[in-house]
Symmetry: C2
Subunit: 471 residues, 2 copies
């Protein structure tokens, strides 16, 4: 009774019109080719409903016919949640649902549909003098629905939280086409279970988010940004505590970067000038917000205190927008710059903040033992305990041979250290199809049972993003 | 096959020992008598397990024998979630699970068991130079498990969020005795569904929280506190926006109080001095945090800007700890002071912040129409859109006759206004048994269906806090 791809495409065209369906596999590249080119399965079809009612109609049909549906936003996810697994699924793109339904700065809320591109949400908020404070490298193509379904993070989680904490409510279509109407603009609402947070971060396995009410914040008057030299991750941790004591929630970002990141970027001409004060084994990029009517200088004075306590040895504070832009480019190019040095093995992990130095020390030592000459490039959101613990191949190694020999083995080594420190094997990017097996190994078994029970309760036929997250 | 109370008590004594069971109804007052004396049902027994394993054993027994279990913390809830409904239930008090398992200020986390009294959690954090920023009027008796199960709020939600946002992870015993081990100290963890937030705020209907990892914050150096005169809720809203623009997340509290609250407290001798600058129809209590190494004066300078924009007409800034204490006493006595003026009808509601002035105007007018001479006393967390919209009876009215005639009718009138503005009929206190019927009327029906499906999936025999929240 399985439908053919042609039958599926015809049925979908009946629901949304033929201009809302792509049935030729040769034309599906935009929806199939994900950023890291790890997953290579076809889809039965791509459907692009142009209204919430059309999403509901597609789901009613899919549920009746037991057709697997993969919700997709901007196709920027890194774990394969948004692309096919079996090849029999339909990709349901939310790209045509791209209206910003309302912005109310007095209430501090923007209601955006799932297909709104993150950068467009930023611009719409700024045009009204407000800010939606979630910044990602992929913000020019990532869409709100995917950002929420993956509970995206980014560089300002420290001050504003991740996507979950920036969402007040969601509207979602369930597996059988029912519409959950959970949009609201309330800071407090204790009327029942927290369905919003269940749908956020569920990778489309429990429902399809069609719109969300997002928190807006006042635009800061300005930022104070610096790159400081720290001797070690331990010193960076002490510096982080000092900054939190003095700046509280004005501390907008605290990013750790190793010397090798600067070296690579300068050697490959990726920076127009050195954004640091001087050579150092480690750098921290620190940023404070400055609100209207307050004097600048808080960062400078905190750094002076840090000098006195010998936590930092040198520093440069941005004196212009171009200084700040260069500092952030240095940070944001950290992932990309590794590709200039051949193959690299990547881990998106978190540990309790206090365990970051041990994670880096023990992980680097274990990696060197496994693969002598390997170059650790741990960097990222120290203030969240979230380190992108990456490794570049030894100088002169063969990329393919390196990956074949060490990719899987290195994951095992690093995850062992992470788990020993009570950490997470997916801090930001989620589970998707990439980490389904890993999740089963490391997650509390009762948590997995609870997840399975909830999945079955809300999607009894298992048609929503089948095989993702839960396997 | 229903067990008698004596059989239940005997079985429980076999599990936890006879000193962990109260079977004499005459000795159950501490667990049955809740703050507002609205609910008057007996319990089959009270059981006080002294370990997580004992909680598991009780739940295995209860699930096998289909005995309803009501988890209870400090018995301070206001909607009857923590007391019996049928009289056949067993109250499972977490009071003996009162260890603080660990405090790690570098990681910013405290792991506290469910029976820890909130005030003891405050003291333990402060002894380590940190802060757990959740303050309630009932903090001397409220326990962490209940605080989380009701997703409690309080006066500093504006800066730090409610209980949900202050919780990193929970440990919980499920209906059949399985243990969900979700404690962690991670700021970011995208490995599966958000089970923590499902258990927080579920009023013990999905699992029994036995411990939680709670976020700690640096202690501010000091606070800047003021009471300012505002002409109207509209002016208070404009002032709130100005304060957010200038103070960002340093804005710790923004509480609205009507003149009648001052009048009542002064007439009844509840304040040793007038905490305000001068007479005004409305007051706002505003507080900013000041972090270490920063200069005082931010509140003063913001208030000068507010004067220039004619948003406030007078103000007094606290110059001493006793000034600050008196200002907060004025705010915290708002609920209690109403009892000095006879009967009152109370509503714990929220609306989008921008709708607070309309809520107060329309709700007050509708109340006056229903009950001429009634005295509106709307006060509370303006910055969260959360107003305790209370009404004192007309001067000289008979309390019993007033309540009999107007209590239910007034609820209908106020909830109509709240819902018309997209608000919540239970902003802070939850559903329990008090608002089960109301929830069915006002909640999105698909949300209720999802809640029911999740409840059945996790507690198929319906033994966890039966009849609460979902009915």
């Amino acid at each position: 009774m399985t439908m053919t791809a042609a039958q599926i495409a015809a049925a979908l065209a009946d629901i949304v019109g033929s201009d809302g369906v792509v049935s030729d596999p040769g034309k599906m590249g935009a929806w199939l080719n994900e950023p890291r080119k790890r997953f290579h399965q076809n889809a039965a079809a791509v459907v692009m409903p142009a209204s919430v009612a059309a999403v509901q109609a597609v789901m009613r049909w899919a549920n009746e016919n037991r057709v697997g549906i993969i919700p997709q936003g901007g196709n920027t996810g890194l774990v394969g949640a948004q692309v096919p697994l079996s090849g029999q699924e339909v990709i349901l793109s939310l790209q045509k649902l791209d209206n910003i339904r309302s912005i109310d700065t007095a209430a501090g809320v923007m209601t955006a549909e799932a297909g709104v591109i993150l950068e467009n949400a930023h611009k719409a908020a700024e045009a009204k003098g407000a800010m939606f404070p979630l910044w990602l490298a992929s913000q020019g193509s990532a869409r709100i629905g995917g950002v929420l379904s993956s509970n995206a993070g980014g560089v300002n989680v420290l001050a504003y939280g991740n996507a979950r904490e920036l969402t007040m409510g969601v509207e979602a279509v369930l597996a059988d086409g029912r519409l959950y109407q959970g949009l609201n603009a309330l800071k407090k609402d204790n009327t029942g279970y927290d369905l919003k947070d269940l749908l956020v971060g569920a990778e489309g396995t429990l429902g399809i988010i069609t719109a969300a009410s997002l928190k807006l914040y006042p635009l800061p008057e300005d930022y104070e940004t610096a790159i400081v030299n720290v001797a070690s991750p331990e010193a960076a941790l002490d510096l982080f505590q000092l900054m939190r004591q003095r700046a509280g929630s004005r501390l907008n970002a605290f990013e750790l970067i190793p010397w090798i990141g600067l070296d690579i970027q300068l050697r490959h001409g990726m920076l127009d000038a050195d954004p640091t004060a001087s050579a150092s084994p480690w750098y921290a990029l620190i940023e404070l917000t400055r609100m209207a009517g307050t004097e600048p200088g808080a960062l400078q004075s905190a750094l002076e205190a840090a000098f006195e306590e010998a936590l930092i040895s040198d520093a440069v504070v941005a004196e212009s927008l171009s200084d700040r832009t260069r500092m952030w480019a240095f940070r944001e190019q950290m992932s990309e710059c590794q590709s200039r040095e051949g193959a690299s093995i990547k881990h998106d992990v978190s540990v309790p903040i206090a365990a970051v130095p041990a994670l880096i020390a023990e992980g680097s030592a274990a990696a060197e033992k496994l693969s002598p000459g390997i170059r650790p490039v741990p960097f990222g959101h120290m203030g969240d305990g979230n380190i992108h613990f990456n490794f570049s191949m030894p100088v002169g190694a063969d990329p393919k041979a390196f990956m074949a020999q060490y990719d899987e083995a290195m994951h095992a080594v690093i995850y062992e250290v992470v788990l020993r420190h009570g950490g997470s094997v997916s801090a930001e990017h989620g589970i998707g199809q990439l980490k389904v097996g890993l999740l089963k190994q490391v997650k509390d078994p009762v948590a997995l049972e609870m997840m399975g029970a909830i999945k079955t309760a809300l999607d009894p036929k298992g048609i929503l993003n089948p095989g993702k997250m839960l396997g």
